[in-house]
Symmetry: C2
DNA sequence: TATATTTACGCAAACGTTCCCGACAACGTT
DNA sequence: AACGTTGTCGGGAACGTTTGCGTAAATATA
């Protein structure tokens, strides 16, 4: 099938004008007589003329489009963040191209390449959990492609970064558990080199330390696929219950991780919070429907998307090279429900 | 900031060759000597040359990109469908541009226009719940832009359409309720003119009829924003409980609708299934974590996305005008859990 | 009336690529 | 020796748009 849009040439031909005149008339240039302008405008309206943005992109070397790379859109945090991104982008006249890495380094590299060569004007990225090498980003960035990292950021690239205050969020979650009487708190998190894992682990440790609870490495489990692979999570869970000194609570450090943990615990027949209390970093708004209702640390996903996008667009539209970079950390919200309630009975 | 990619001209200049020679060498044309080819290829590799797809699009009047329009990506059905779309698109060399209508007719028109003028090669769309007028689609379609509708389809445009078997899914859900002893089955659904609403309502009626239960209009409620607006749902729920002849079960006909109903019922303090049994059309995979675990009709979202994409690409790549259109209806899956279990006690 | 200024428009190049066409060697064939 | 082949390569147009420059006619100025 072929789709033949009408061009500026068609208008020119129909009206006996040159393309330059038509172009100028369309833009309302002062050097076109008002009659001609009117003529062109009316005709363009009539035949429903739309400028070809491909041609414009070629000329201006600008696309007015933003590339987004996330691991998965079927993830409450990311779908909310994307809504934030869109809300800003569209207002500023930018289109948005979303791609999913599915936590694969391989796919991420391909996507980055593809997006860059498609001439997106900038990139908004949360790196995949498999990514340890950042040269694919670095190369483009050094060539001048604006990139803003959000959520999972990369420290070795000096650009704007937007995150939730993961340290504080993790600290709050852990301390909440401690205050409710839990002492052996397991921590299931994503790949250890991921910024979010590091930050959240630190917050967890800090809360333990502050409350005079020793840090026990055997209570920390890394699921390299962030909860996307069920067995990874179930294995971690099984290990937790195999410990001689049993864990009495669980802090899950990610959206999918949290829900997958809940599924795993259910499958293993564990009572929450009787056998184990659970709190998770998740942006689901279904937490109150769960059995038991789920205590969560909620990230301001929408706002993170917004802030990141504003920063990116400011980079894109900056005349001079940007040298002053920000790391913005937005506050998380602790929502306490039944999955972490204090155990009343003594078994 | 500026991003200056290397072009075919740069290669030509560096190697003392014309652009045409370089172009041909890159494509491996037979009329270029193998030494020259090697020279060009190696140099291109060295400086990391990437062809500019914008220029290609301009030339070929093809984009190798597909536009997707859905109401919301933060919706289990759609995010899964999008995964299906991507899985096919990327394999076939197409990029995917996702846009959200947020159930607004206004936004939908703008997006359609924008996408079309951005020269996507085709459109995959599930219409917004506000959309009653389809001329924005028709115009483009008649001009030759391939469009495939999925999920919420529009009957008056003759093209490929891919849906779940909504009739059967609704029939199964309703009959399941009936078989479990429920007789006054409320039906909360989306805007009445939406294809999915019509099909599901028909299935619901059919199941009632087959089981000799009279259809009562007062049991059917339309939430025009498909569960996106909480109050709409709460109002419907309140009405249900105000009925003289009380409803004993609820069939919710959408993803967001189902979860929002659950939230509403919780807020109203209703016991499920004691006060009212619930089954919903939803693709959440968290149904078993709910309290009570949720019976659902699951749509093959991923497959729907795949099939729709295959059909779209076949339209795009077809040499001759496509005249033979398919309506594919994929089977739903009934997953029975506790929210519809037979009531044992008599209050 | 001759010259300067304004008004209103067209020409052509450019963005990066492909591809038709033509050119010109170095051959082999009569 | 004259011709046709073959193998390599370059020139230039085209895709749709913007924009610097040129220019003709119309008007204003001297």
């Amino acid at each position: 099938m072929k789709f033949e849009p009408v061009t500026i040439k068609d208008i020119g031909k129909a009206l006996g004008l040159s393309t330059s005149t038509v172009s100028r008339a369309l833009r309302g240039s002062y050097e076109i007589s008002s009659e001609t302008k009117k003529l062109v405008l009316e005709y363009a309206e009539k035949i429903n003329y739309r400028p070809n943005p491909i041609a414009l992109s070629l000329k201006e070397r600008r696309n007015h489009s933003l590339g987004i790379i996330v691991c998965e859109i079927a993830n409450n945090f990311f779908s909310q963040a994307i809504n934030g991104i869109e809300s800003i982008a569209y207002n500023r006249g930018y289109h948005v191209i979303i791609s999913q890495s599915h936590e694969s380094y391989e796919r991420e590299s391909v996507i980055v390449d593809h997006l860059a060569s498609r001439s997106v004007d900038g990139l908004l990225v949360s790196v995949s959990s498999e990514t340890k090498d950042y040269t694919h980003f670095k190369q483009l960035y050094e060539k001048g492609l604006p990139i803003v990292f959000f959520d999972r950021i990369v420290s070795e690239i000096n650009t704007h970064k937007v995150i939730a205050d993961n340290f504080k969020g993790a600290f709050d979650a852990t301390e909440h558990l401690i205050q409710n009487g839990f002492k052996r708190i397991a921590h299931i998190t994503s790949a250890p080199y991921l910024s979010i894992s590091i930050e959240r682990l630190e917050g967890y440790k800090e809360a333990l330390g502050k409350n005079n609870i020793g840090f026990d490495e055997k209570l920390v489990y890394h699921c390299y696929h962030g909860g996307m692979i069920y067995d990874e999570v179930e294995d971690a869970l099984k290990n937790i219950f195999k410990l001689k000194q049993k864990a009495d609570a669980l802090f899950a450090a990610g959206d999918r991780l949290t829900t997958t943990c809940m599924q795993g615990l259910q499958k293993l027949g564990k009572k929450i919070p009787g056998d184990i209390a659970v709190i998770g970093f998740t942006n689901t708004n279904l937490g109150e429907l769960f059995n038991p209702s789920l205590s969560v640390v909620r990230q301001p996903a929408f706002e993170i998307g917004q802030v990141a996008t504003e920063l990116l667009i400011s980079m894109i539209e900056s005349k001079r090279p940007v040298v002053d970079f920000h790391l913005k950390a937005l506050q998380t919200e602790l929502i306490i429900r039944d999955s972490t309630s204090r155990i009343k009975t003594i078994n």
